[in-house]
Structures are given as structure tokens and as C-alpha cells.
């Protein structure tokens, strides 16, 4: 709230545009001043209350979404497992009698089931990740994390996946970073269009924060995007 002897209209407009709550020119009546201050504080209280309600709603809808993702992934696993069991029985019972092409199709069918099982498991892991982040988890060196991710991923031999010295030396919480880098590297491999590929993990210190980078030589020329939140994009 501006209290000033300047009655310059242009300045007044400028100030109001800049976000000043009100503009009171001297001399002014105490009454007017009081009413205006009351109005401003009331407005502020209302904004705070509205914001609190909004935040509450947002938290709730986030929780609902997490719960929904968890429940969906959980409920889908059971019928999927049944499908796999049935496919396995067909496979076992038809050895030698099934057309070779059908046998191959059956095998591919089971591969897809495995893939979907993995997606569902990832979804479950992801929806419990928030909690894991809050808990004091295991701290590992970047080099250990990379080794574990590569063991989980089993990337094609044509792909080179490297981490910078800084990344390898840095101590970091295993969860959720393992899941995040796992997803990013997996995406980079999956969406790579070349015969061979290179993926690099790096970290830079930016004041109190660490900036992690996953860089690949896939499509969209050379990408250099810090995709911290792209695990969300698959949900």
C-alpha cells in the first residue's frame, strides 16, 4: 500500500500495475486508511484460505491417483498371471504337435505377458516410491547404482552406457534414483533409432542442488534434457 504525497496519476497507475494493493495520497483521512487496510488484510486472508483449500484438494486428488494406479496395477496382475499360466500349459501340452509358427507365436505371446507384468510391477513400485523417498533409504555410490541398473536392464550389446567420473563418485539414495535412471535409460534404448547407441549419465553441482543429466545420441539430434520427471509420463 502506497502512502505518498505524490498525486501523479501516471505513477499511481504504474504502481497499481506493478502489484501495489492500494494507493493513498497524502493528506488522507484515518478512516479511509483504516478501511483500506482492513480490506487488504481481509483479501489476503481470503486468498490464504482459498489456497489452503486448493492445496488440500490437490493433495487428495494426488493421493487418489496414486491409490488408483496402485489398485489398477494390483488388480490387473492376477488375470494376467492366469493368462500366462494358461499359455504355459498350452506350450507344455503341445510340444511336438503344434505348428512351428504357432509355437513361435505362443512364445511371443508369453514375452508380451512378461513385459506387461514388468510394467505393472514398475507401476506398483512407482506408486510406493513416494513413501520410499521419505524414508531414510540406502545410500550408494553412483558407480554401484549404474552397475545394478545395467544388470536389471541387460541392454543390447550395441549400446554403450557410461557415467561420468562425478556421477560414479557421488553418493546418492538408491531409491528413488535407481528407478528414475532405470526408466530413463530404458526409454533412451527403446526410442533409439540407430544400430548402435550411446547413453551418458552425468551430474553437476548447482549451488545446493544436483542436476542429473541423461544424454543419448538417439533421434531429435543430440538430446540434452534433464528428464527428472519422465517416470511420470508412463503412468
Amino acid at each position: 500500500m502506497m502512502l505518498t504525497a505524490k498525486t501523479d496519476d501516471q505513477l499511481k497507475m504504474e504502481m497499481l500495475r506493478e502489484g501495489v494493493g492500494d494507493y493513498l495520497a497524502k493528506p488522507f483521512s484515518m478512516e479511509e486508511f483504516r478501511v483500506k487496510v482492513e480490506r487488504l488484510t481481509a483479501q489476503r486472508r481470503r486468498t490464504i484460505a482459498e489456497r489452503a483449500i486448493l492445496l488440500q484438494k490437490l493433495l487428495k486428488s494426488n493421493q487418489d491417483l496414486e491409490r488408483f494406479a496402485y489398485a489398477t496395477a494390483h488388480d490387473l496382475r492376477s488375470p494376467l498371471r492366469s493368462i500366462d499360466i494358461l499359455a504355459q500349459w498350452v506350450e507344455e501340452d503341445s510340444v511336438g504337435t503344434l505348428h512351428p509358427q504357432s509355437a513361435e507365436h505362443l512364445q511371443k505371446l508369453r514375452q508380451q505377458i512378461k513385459r506387461m507384468e514388468k510394467l505393472l510391477r514398475d507401476m506398483l513400485d512407482y506408486s510406493t516410491m513416494e513413501q520410499a523417498t521419505d524414508e531414510a533409504g540406502e545410500i550408494v555410490k553412483g558407480s554401484v547404482l549404474l552397475t545394478d541398473i545395467l544388470a536389471l536392464l541387460a541392454p543390447p550389446a550395441e549400446f554403450t552406457i557410461n557415467a561420468s567420473e562425478a556421477f560414479q563418485r557421488l553418493s546418492m539414495p538408491r531409491m528413488p534414483l535407481q528407478q528414475i535412471f532405470y526408466n530413463l535409460v530404458q526409454n533412451a534404448i527403446r526410442h533409439h533409432d540407430g544400430e548402435t547407441g550411446r547413453i551418458e549419465l552425468d551430474v553437476e553441482v548447482d549451488g545446493p542442488r544436483y542436476v542429473f543429466t541423461v544424454r543419448d545420441d538417439g533421434p531429435e539430434s543430440i538430446r540434452n534434457i534433464t528428464r527428472k520427471f519422465s517416470t511420470c509420463s508412463r503412468l
Binding site: 492376477s78 498371471r81 492366469s82 499360466i85 494358461l86 500349459w89
Partner: protein, 138 residues
């Protein structure tokens, strides 16, 4: 004189999972008589001989799922252990739930073992000599 083999009761709401157990038994040459119930309510009726069911011979070896409609596995265990007529039943949990709460709840109700469905193979392998060599309650 060889005693009669113990009867096995499979309590499971998924038809496929029941079939999986029966198939694994067949493959392992386990010839014990098997019975099937689709939830805790039906299983208790079969064990007690209530609800129009004829009572199964006691004791029974029960393979018990946890998540089922009407009455889940843990609630069924509660009733089972309270009932003098059937509380001697030998129960192995066979479930997809690896949750610590479920495991704790099951062992607190004196189950003989807790197996995840993906480990049906090892369970059946273990059950074969167990059914043949174990001395069951009289």
C-alpha cells in the same frame, strides 16, 4: 499298514490357480484326494459338514489363499483355530501377497508354511515327501 493319505483342501477363488495346483499335483504324482472351495465360507462348511456339505475327513491339509470374496484366508484361519473340531488342520498359505502384515498374521495363526504362488513348484515338491512321511495329528 500304510495309513490313508491325508486329504487336501484347496481354498482358492481363482479357477486357474486351482487348476494350477491340481496340475502340479498330477505332475508330481501326488495322489491324495483333493477338494476345492472358492472362499473361506465354503471351506469352513466343508470342514465342519455344515451348509449342506458333507464333512471332510480330519485332519485336512489346507492350501489357503488370502484375498478371496466373502471370507478371506486370515479371517478363515481365525475361525478355524477357534473351532475344536477342525483346529488341528495343517495349513499352508498359497497367495500372491508377500506383504509383511499378511505373513505375520498367518504365522500368528500357526500356519505350517507360507508360499507365494510363483513358488507353487517348490511347495508341491516339498509336499510330496511331507504327505508320505509326516505323522499327522490323530
Amino acid at each position: 499298514m500304510p495309513e490313508k493319505n491325508i486329504d487336501v483342501l484347496i481354498v482358492e477363488d481363482s479357477e486357474i490357480d486351482t487348476m494350477a495346483v491340481l496340475r502340479a499335483f498330477r505332475k508330481a504324482d501326488i495322489t491324495n484326494a483333493t477338494h476345492q472351495a472358492c472362499d473361506g465360507v465354503e471351506a469352513l462348511d466343508m470342514l465342519r459338514g455344515t451348509g449342506g456339505k458333507s464333512a471332510l475327513p480330519q485332519p485336512c491339509l489346507i492350501l489357503l489363499d488370502i484375498n478371496m470374496p466373502r471370507m478371506d484366508g486370515i479371517s478363515m484361519l481365525d475361525e478355524l483355530r477357534e473351532d475344536d473340531g477342525i483346529k488341528d488342520s495343517i495349513v499352508f498359505m498359497l497367495t500372491t501377497s508377500g506383504h509383511t502384515v499378511d505373513r505375520k498374521a498367518a504365522y500368528e495363526r500357526n500356519v505350517a508354511g507360507y508360499f507365494l504362488k510363483e513358488n507353487l513348484g517348490p511347495l508341491v515338491e516339498m509336499l510330496k515327501p511331507y504327505c508320505q512321511g509326516n505323522e499327522f495329528p490323530v
